[in-house]
Amino acid sequence: MRRVTKIAAAGVATAALAFTSAACSSDDSGSSDKGVGLAFDVGGRSDASFNESAARGYDKAKKEFDIGGKELTARDGETEADREQRLTSLAEAGYNPVIGVGFAYGKSVNKVAKDFPDTTFAVIDEASQAENVAGITFAEHEGSYLAGVAAALKSKSGNVGFIGGVHNNLIKKFEAGFVQGVKDTKPDVKVDVKYLYESDLKGFQDPLRAKGIAEGMLDSGSDVIYSAAGLSGTGSIEAVAAQDGAWAIGVDSDQYRDKALADYKDSILTSVVKNVDVAVYDLIKSVQDGEPLTGDHTFTLKDDGVSLAASGGFIDDIQGDIDAAKKKISDGEITVSDTP
């Protein structure tokens, strides 16, 4: 089989071969500790959301610990083998830790980790299934609880909406926290819960559909809408911005500061920020300190893994209620359920 490949390879590069002998040789020796290996999900470092947040933590750690690093990005239409290859390349080259950003890396991280027992792996938003893997998750439900508090207090109509991208376990956490936060604050406020898709992952990339659903919610009286739907959320934010007095709640990053949404920022009440950067930084730090994180690790409200953004100052008037709720959660006084 290898022979066949070589023939194919030769087809591409016969001409190049003649010149390459003079070129410098590769320098990856393969064992020395070279820093952090970061594998992005589709979209890459500048996706204004999840990947970008991870990159922030990575940049900070690199600077602080004066270490190297390597970033690789997923392509559209990948298979499991592609992701495995990406992680293997990083581990093989001596990067430690190796971090897969996004649950797409769930299976592959756990599989590849077995081949590199001395390397620490991490996967964001997915559970660990191997000894040297840190499964980093976030208490999105806790952040969403605070969003629920804000929504309940800000709603004039007594109706609020929740739009989920895909009806999977991750997004259900958002829903559960949000609904609980609303009900704990004002039991008579109604929450309209809608999902864009049952299982299709394009639920995170379908702003048009989100816009349509948001318009429907607005028409039926909701005046605060929380979207946990990745890129699709821009659609609902757009719809909300078109209606006076309605508020949108963003997700993942502080969407008030998102340049792509600058036109609508005055309608963005707040955002449930998932501080992936904090998690990534903490993980790198743990490896640097010689006590690598392993196993499942949830970043909660208490350790700033999730937070509610205050940009724009729209929630300044209710900050007291929010801080109170936050304290109760941190102290364990309130337990936020992670399933609806």
Partner: protein, 367 residues
């Protein structure tokens, strides 16, 4: 005869070699412009692409590409542009996975059953486009594109918990097929080679044999070359359009099988997408010939494999996409150039033949 064989060889080999060389030159220029060293890039690609582990990856990946390109090529030979291979293989793999997950028969029965379901569903899906073309005159380009979308929607509808899917963490997929239905693997020290490669080779051989050695294949090719002449020769063109779309779809149904039977064991939201479009490029590259397609698929897999490594070495990963695009363009142009050259050359020789007779005449007249 010798001379004609040489011509054939030049047409068959000359064009791709020309194209790949031109693509290399252009790519080098682009890398140079971006301020990087192209030869270093090629060195990285060759070194990394020829490791044992890469070889396994390339063979596995190219199996899928090969089947996809084969499905497209069947249409091309008929002058039909089946853009819908993508939707066909996905919907085929989905229903095959659903059937496979619901049953637990002995592998010897269940594996062929899963494959047959996939081929059948793919055939039906492509057949719709064929029937619409013959009965309503709708271009298969349009219908297959739309059917891609519909396939996505149908899968989306059924792939939910409570219908045909089940939840697994953040993913949803069909129930796993039983272990007995896992395809055999050729184990190597650096990974397994998917046993489905055997079926791919078989499909490639059948494609060649049916098209070139059977009456049916001749009829199919004649429709592709001239619908009017084929009709006058007695081929039922409409039926042939439907038949070839059905065949194309059946082969498209195989595209998802290596993944389903040898890797994922279910159809989930993370099932590979877009392989059908890759197939179009590879069919063009391989000139609809199974050997050409195989080489094209290997080259494609090689590029995919080494693209990641290029990124690792600080090159933009997209450079590989640029190479692919340039290769396809160069190939299309090179084939046309070589084809025209060959035709002119033939005409010249026919002309010489006539002129020889002509000058004899002149001599006679002069006498």
């Amino acid at each position: 005869m010798k001379r004609l064989d040489r011509d054939k060889l030049i047409t068959a080999v000359g064009a791709p070699v020309l194209a790949v060389l031109a693509a290399l030159v252009l790519t080098s220029l682009i890398i140079l412009i971006s301020g990087k060293d192209p030869f270093r890039a090629y060195q990285v690609m060759i070194e990394f692409g020829t490791t044992d582990r890469s070889a396994v990856y390339i063979v596995n990946k190219s199996t899928m590409f090969f089947l996809s390109a084969l499905a497209v090529a069947i249409g091309f030979r008929m002058n039909l542009f089946n853009i819908g291979v993508d939707g066909q293989y996905r919907i085929a793999a989905f229903f095959a996975a659903a059937v496979g997950g619901a049953l637990s028969l002995p592998g010897l029965i269940q594996i062929p059953l899963i494959i047959l379901v996939a081929m059948g569903v793919g055939a039906i899906w492509a057949g719709i486009a064929g029937v619409l073309r013959t009965t309503r005159g709708v271009s298969e380009v349009i219908t297959t594109i739309m059917l891609n979308s519909i396939a996505g929607a149908v899968i989306g509808y059924y792939l939910t918990a409570g219908r045909l899917g089940e939840k697994d963490g953040n993913l949803t997929h069909t129930p796993n097929i039983p272990e007995s239905s896992h395809i055999f693997m050729f184990g190597t020290s650096v990974g397994d080679i998917n046993g489905f490669v055997v079926f791919a080779v078989l499909a490639g051989f059948l494609y060649w044999f049916v098209l070139n050695r059977t009456r049916f294949g001749f009829d199919l090719r004649s429709v592709g070359r001239s619908e009017t002449a084929a009709a006058a020769s007695g081929v039922d063109v409409k039926r042939m359009i439907v038949t070839s779309m059905v065949l194309s779809g059946a082969v498209a149904g195989l595209v998802g099988m290596p993944t389903l039977l040898g890797e994922s064991y279910n159809y989930g939201t993370d099932f590979p997408l877009g392989v059908g479009f890759t197939g179009i490029a590879i069919a063009l590259l391989g000139r609809n010939h199974p050997v050409g397609i195989a080489l094209g698929a290997l080259l494609w897999a090689f590029l995919e494999r080494t693209g990641t490594q290029l990124e690792f070495e600080g090159y933009d990963q997209k450079i590989v996409e640029v190479i692919k695009g340039i290769i396809v363009l160069c190939v299309v142009i090179a084939y046309e150039v070589v084809r025209r050259w060959a035709l002119r050359d033939q005409q010249r020789r026919v002309g010489e033949e006539l002129a020889r007779a002509g000058s004899n005449d002149k001599a006679e007249v002069g006498a």
